[in-house]
Symmetry: C2
Subunit: 168 residues, 2 copies
Amino acid sequence: MANEIKAELAAGKLAEYEQLSKIYDDIVKHAKPRLTVEGQGKILLALSDEDHQSQRELATRLGISPQSTSEFVYKLVKRNLVTLTKSPKDKRVNLVNLTNEGRQEIESAAQEVPPFLKALSDTEMDQLSSLLNKITTAMYEDIDAANPTLGVKFHKLFASRYLKQFKK
Amino acid sequence: MANEIKAELAAGKLAEYEQLSKIYDDIVKHAKPRLTVEGQGKILLALSDEDHQSQRELATRLGISPQSTSEFVYKLVKRNLVTLTKSPKDKRVNLVNLTNEGRQEIESAAQEVPPFLKALSDTEMDQLSSLLNKITTAMYEDIDAANPTLGVKFHKLFASRYLKQFKK
DNA sequence: AATATATAATAAGGGCACCTGATTATATTG
DNA sequence: CAATATAATCAGGTGCCCTTATTATATATT
């Protein structure tokens, strides 16, 4: 079937892109490294969307265990990017707050346009956005079906990032 | 500038896709997990392209340290996916060889079309392949400029994967 | 109020992908 | 043959994650 081959080709290209992008940042140095959407970076991202969340909230929202969340928060505290304050309402909970440095960190690492995207024309840029949008929408649906508490949160988290760019 | 905004949007969507795909496999279970293109998976992939390479060759080709290579190979040996044989020409070198299980592992984990791609029509599939092709080509150029010994090898490595699919 | 149970966070320990700095064989070369 | 280069390994470390206790603090039940 011709369409099966098309799909396999697209899947292969997508896999290739993913793999390449893993090594791209290592090898092709940027002035400012991209904000990593893992671990500590995830926490920062979530806080930039909504500050003063409890670790429990962060964990649930980001789909990582509370233990890992605690670890990342601890590391961020050491880097002076967040502070912890005990909630007065519930002495069990630690609220995680962005410091000015933390906010700056997010700002300075704001999504830059990677150099390799310059290879596309305006029209192609539009096409790519639209295709990726269909793909991510489908992914959110699958993720949501598998774990209803997660998908929407992520969407919101990412959406807030583009919005910030448009405001400027 | 309008085109700058288009580029930022595309960059954001790409980042979103990357992040989502990281958690997709965890949450949306597949019968067969995708062959991971990291660590042990990288080694297998390189061997499927060309068997009986020395660890040194693998390390250079994959852009990872010889020490890490040794570690991954060791783990693959424990999983019976590769064997080590001393080169008769140079007793220092260990040749890494795929076992039948190893070959099967690669085969069975061959790139399946992820469910979320089904959201695209044939035409869109073509568009996506073509766009990604432009992007990866640009990435290879950047990578090659930064580290001339690496890019082409990677390209060959990935290219061999699609080709296999077309043969069927 | 007193006990039982639920919940937030931490501690402890483990796995995987990498890395750097020795160290040990084995080659090659002057 | 001594000096140097090279393949691989050992030891130890970082970052991202996880699971299984354990410790406080809350809330519910009797």
